[in-house]
Amino acid sequence: MLSLKYKLSIVIAALVIFCAMYGCKKNNNDITPLPDITISATTVSEKFIGDVLSINPTVAYGGQEANFTYKWFKTVQASSSLTVYKQISDKKALSYTLDSLGTLNLKFEVSNTVTGVSSFSKISFNVVSRAERGWYLLKATADGNTEMDAFYTNAVGNQSVTNIITAKNGAPMAGLPVDIGFTAFYTWYNPITKFFVSNNTCLIPVSSKEVLAYRVRDERILSSTDGLFYEPPVPASRNFQALVCDPNLMGIVNDGAAQGMDPNSSSFLPQRSGDYSLSPYFTLAPYKFNNANVGYILGFDKKSASFVTLRYKQTDISYFPDRFLTGSKFSYPYNVSSNKMGAQLVFMGNTDGTLDSLQSSNGRAYGLLKKDNSSDMMLVGLNTELLLPSRYGNGNFSPIAFKRDLLSSSYPDLASASLFAINKNNPIIYFAKGSNLGYYNIDTQVYSSSMYNFGGEEITYVKFIDAQYDAITANNFRNLVVATYLNGKYKVYRFTVLGTTLTQTGAVFEGTGRIKSLIYAVPNGNSTATFTSLFHSMYRYY
């Protein structure tokens, strides 16, 4: 049998355990619940990329004082199938620059530093581009470099941004402005992922020394001059003079020589062969996005005074033979050679209609040439259908279907004008001289040198923009756009044209600098059914 002492020990142990258990239970009943951490509900409506998001939520703790730590997270895609939270701030008040498009998911986490208890709140909203639709102005700065301003047109009204190049790149582009182009197919080599990213919709601003690829939707410079050439020209020899953008071929002229960039490519190919020096004026044959009539650019060789084509998938440029298409819509064939014109091109642009009696679709352009050793001009009508392989076998005939001399004695202000434009619906040429805007109707031969006067402001840019490519009909328009310069500042006017009457429309864009070129950009659309979007109608710009 167990001794009494042993039995007593067991009893005492049992009592101790019982008391301990009882005591614990009693204590539990005495706990006062901790207050909840409550975070004020925060909602954020749609924001633009580049905006600084500022949120300062209210954190409550049942009316008690407490110390907290704060963490803001956003979701990031760690892989194609994994989304994780990444911390972006340890402050209660968040100030965060929105740097990517799409849905932004935020989580705000509050932790009590004493108890370790935490609470969180989530916020989601869309970050959209403010920059996809609007006017981009390429301008010369006071010190002779190149900058870009933008006047956006979007749901929250118009906004303007000045000196974008400096804001994004730290400095303006070196050299005077040349032109600004547009592509929907720029391929970007992402140096971080080391993969190529296709179909970037980019503006291509060009100065005499630099070229950039500027992705519109997130306002980011993807590539600069060295990255845009397989064999970058040395800075001292760079003399960029022109840019032309066709969906199948982007062409740049460097000191007279052409270099092309294929779509879905990241760089300009080497200079095209030949003894030529291109003028800066180009036009494109009308095309529809889904047909093959793209990649044929009409230009002019200053050296031989001849019209030429820049074709995609070619290593040089092409001249037209002295062969002439019969069946001209005029009473007799002109049989005008497009070679050795004895004149230099000063303007070229296309308009609706045709100079081809065998084709009914659009395909006419006009070129203005200044005769050698003379102040007289020559106007030629160009059948751009002749550029197309599917029409007449790859430029096998002279494209000139019409020719007219314009004597300086009869058209003095036209012959001495510095800038020209063409109405995209009718064969009317606009010309600028000083502050005056005039016109010349090719069909009726009506001429006026005083269509509009800008009161001392020098006209630095004129173009008829027929923007019938915007998916939002409200943004379609046909405007004559004129930029002027006075005392270091520019103004951009827009006019509707009715006959010879100009009626100003919309606000005047104003800023510092001198406008060289501009473009009205819209979001790129891929609808081959409607052929909308600027890119699908790029020929309208030339």
């Binding site: 049998m1 167990l2 001794s3 042993y6 391929t187 080599y189 190529f196 397989y230 294929d262 879905n264 490519s265 990241s266 760089s267 190919l269 080497p270 095209r272 062969s273 998938k313 070619q314 290593t315 040089d316």
Partner: protein
Amino acid sequence: MIKKIINTIAVSLTVLTLAGCKKELPAAYTGQQYLEFYSLYDIKEVTTAYSSFYYLNSSRSTDTVFLRVRTVGTVPSKTSFIKLSAFTDPNTTSAYPDAVAGVQYVSFDDENIKKLMKVDAGKYEAYIPVVLKRDPSLKDKVYQLRFKITTSDDFKPGNSDHTEGIIYISDRLFQPSNWTPSFFLGSYGSVKHQFMIEQSGKPWDAAFITTLTNPVDLNAQAFYLFKFTQALKDLNATRKAAGLTELRENPLLPSTAVTFPNL
């Protein structure tokens, strides 16, 4: 009596529990050392290398290819020597004759070479040299050197998927193995190959082609296709002006004119 039994059981349980904690962990492997060529994949892979004296200065009489090997099983505790042996594969038909020891390469039994074919103590990887000789025969033909890891005093061959190698030796241009029928610059020709080297300053050997094709770099491919097409057009125009034929693989055969695919 019961008290003693309880005490005995308690003591026994304590002893058994403590004894259980002392069980020994498995020992590290200390047996046979194995060796294989480095490979990323667990599939049959013949280590392949190229030696072309064509790209080397004419004063060079030897070229060295280094092969990456790794140990399997153990990290050597002492300097461990490797043995390679050349062999002819009776199951493979090759366009290239087998290289001869002492003629196109320095024999694996050469005492100086043997000293270099080793894995140092404490290392699990090494680069071992194979020395190729610039023999006049390489001007006429491409030779192949097939070899495999064989048993040495220190190593046995490892995974048989990774113990064989081949080195192609030449002193002339030859079609790189990755210049396949679908190569982006079209069909192979030695005149065309030489033309590309001269125009680009690049070797256009297997290693360089890999930089354009794996991963596929369409931008660089477009650039080279444009550059060669343009250069060939210009060259042929110059040749024509000089009364010559276009550039051909065989000057007497028009059908062998050098061409590139359409842009």
